[in-house]
Symmetry: C2
Subunit: 385 residues, 2 copies
């Protein structure tokens, strides 16, 4: 690969949302050019950031070839493109893709992902592939009701997940998720947990770094806040960090990766989900860490040494600012949050808001975690978007 | 002005170089759209960052009108556009320009600038407007040889400045700078100084913040490094900060402003130059301060409250990485600098390098200023561009 610090070096993003946008900002910082391919023709966050914008279908290698050939390296902001498509795109265009299609192949399907990590000795939540009505019943009898049904591919922020209380609900959800038409459906036992944790890892051929273990605060399966470091014993945080690194090694990951864990009531750390990309749980790192997850995303896929992920203050809190109205996007009542020393607002440049849509986030650094969290909540609660 | 946190809010930059580029990155962070107008048709740093790119002449209001009308607010990265042109552009397009044309009018000409600041009670270096051969002689006899001759407009990084040792050199320089064809030429006495200092101020109708006082290390009139806080007594730093704020108030500045001072051998702080824009002396603030000069540039011109300018570590050092070769730009031998914890590389995306051209910079944060400076020098000295 060409020296990524050549000024005509172009990094391409498959996907044009906020994760790519925040990564692209870091690419600019290194003097790079940014190209973007989206499945929407216009008005996506990254499309406003470059003259090099392409669109088409993520399923169609042909439609991505012109984009791919214009790039020196390609990366992704989601995990919904088939690894076979990525492999063909890479091989036909000659442009490297990181994380690699081979890494993607090990995690793109939730069943294969669980197997990959189990084989590496990483504890995962109890699960089974469900093929039919009998399987739905057996899983409930073995692991108890309620449990979760998930599409093996394409789940995101709770979409593609169904909680089922009994056999009737299980059957309805199985059909809703497409189990009856051949989609792989996974059952997952509910785990009694005290905290949901997350860890990011940046890794490439030059080395790796592991971010602090944070707590993700979820409402309705959507992350609403992140507290770093997670308010759990330090040995639990270290355990999650070790597992996150092990998981990244298991898929020979080159890039930035995020792992979500349950800390069970019994004190176990179980891997829940992985993401081969920057992750909402790591947004705090933009100001909170010496090197952000986005900068390390760029560094890792370009072969530059990953940078120090240490916290620069004892506490970092990130609040997701979700849309509150269906309207043209505008952030209102944010003056106090912006004026707060140590407070940082990031808006994603989405033109349209709607209730629950991830529109922006707010990071507050401080000396003490709960006080910082409470202040961040207070400063952001009146914000409307 | 429209709420700047509307996602279709467009900030326009007159000028497309590294100062606009680093400011534009911050505009993206607030979800804004970026438009740029350059006097070069392509390949300027900001032109790679937006689909909204315009070019033409900075002297021709007509050629800037389409750009201006596409923006909600316009700002600048240099001080070379005539304030009358800016005023006409603003009045005809209806788009606000900050810093305002009225502020520009008070500083665009070095003679008027000196008068403005003198009238505000700010000590400046001894100077005189030179009209003829007699004036050249009188200035030398009054203030001693050598002294400096400067174009009243358009000087930058030592260009447009001439050091003259005697009457013959003075006359040659006067003609070289265009004094004989009516250009305003200023003579400035050499000041015996121990340090060159700089301070940034962000100011708008909501308030102001003053950055720490830093030392600029110059070679051949080009800034090669910046040390923050300046290694001078704290009362000297405070004096420079007070004068910088006073100067910003004197021109009713809205935006980010930088001021360069001499600390004389006698202990006086004299204002040397001002810049109504982000400044090389403030690049350290990207990682060194809670809120960078570029973020406060965006905040100030958009009417958002300026953010906390405090240092986040006791010492911040910035090294300018100048071109070392005439070639397509590529940064080589930077691995060690990038891998250093607390070290941050920024490249400006210029396609062509040449010896002495400002291509990139490197910031290193640390606990102790001289040790940090020495380490930064060591880490960057082998870099070639």
């Amino acid at each position: 690969m060409k020296n990524p610090l050549s000024s005509d070096f172009t990094i391409g993003f498959l996907g044009a949302g906020q994760l790519a946008r925040m990564s692209a900002v870091q690419a600019f910082r290194y003097g790079m050019q940014v190209a973007v391919f989206s499945d929407r023709p216009e008005d996506e966050p990254v499309q406003f950031m470059t003259p090099h914008s392409y669109s088409g279908s993520f399923d169609d290698v042909d439609s991505m070839m012109e984009f791919a050939k214009s790039c020196d390296v390609i990366t992704l902001e989601n995990e919904f493109i088939d690894s076979e498509v990525l492999r063909e795109l890479r091989d036909r265009s000659g442009t490297p893709i990181f994380p690699s299609p081979e890494s993607f192949a090990l995690i793109e399907n939730k069943r294969i992902e669980k197997q990959t990590f189990e084989e590496a000795g990483i504890p995962v939540t109890p699960y089974a592939l469900i093929r039919d009505q009998e399987g739905l019943k057996t899983f409930g009898e073995t692991h108890g009701w309620p449990y979760l049904l998930k599409s093996s591919k394409g789940g995101y922020d709770g979409y593609g997940n169904e909680t089922v209380q009994n056999r009737e609900e299980a059957l309805a959800a199985f059909e809703k998720l497409g189990g009856n038409i051949g989609h792989d459906i996974l059952a997952e036992a509910f785990v009694d947990f005290t905290h949901e944790l997350a860890v990011q890892v940046a890794r490439n051929e030059t080395g790796h770094v592991v971010y602090p273990c944070c707590e993700t605060v979820q409402k309705n399966h959507i992350c609403v806040a992140v507290k770093t470091p997670a308010p759990v014993p330090s040995d639990v945080r270290e355990k999650a960090q070790q597992l996150a690194l092990k998981a990244t090694e298991a898929i020979d990951g080159k890039g930035i990766f995020a792992y979500e864990f349950f800390l069970t009531t019994g004190g176990d750390v179980l891997l829940n989900e992985s993401a081969p990309r920057p992750h909402n749980s790591g947004h705090y790192s933009i100001e909170g860490c010496t090197t952000s997850q986005f900068e390390n995303h760029i560094r890792a896929v370009c072969g530059l040494p990953p940078g120090n992920p240490s916290l620069i203050k004892p506490a970092a809190v990130m609040i997701n600012l979700l849309g509150t109205h269906k309207r043209a996007a505008v952030i209102e009542n944010a003056e106090e949050a912006i004026a707060e020393p140590g407070g940082h607002l990031h808006s994603y440049g989405k033109l349209q808001s709607k209730p629950g849509r991830k529109m922006a986030h707010y990071t507050l650094l401080g000396e003490q975690l709960e006080a910082t969290y409470n202040k961040a909540i207070r400063l952001t609660k009146q914000i409307e978007i």
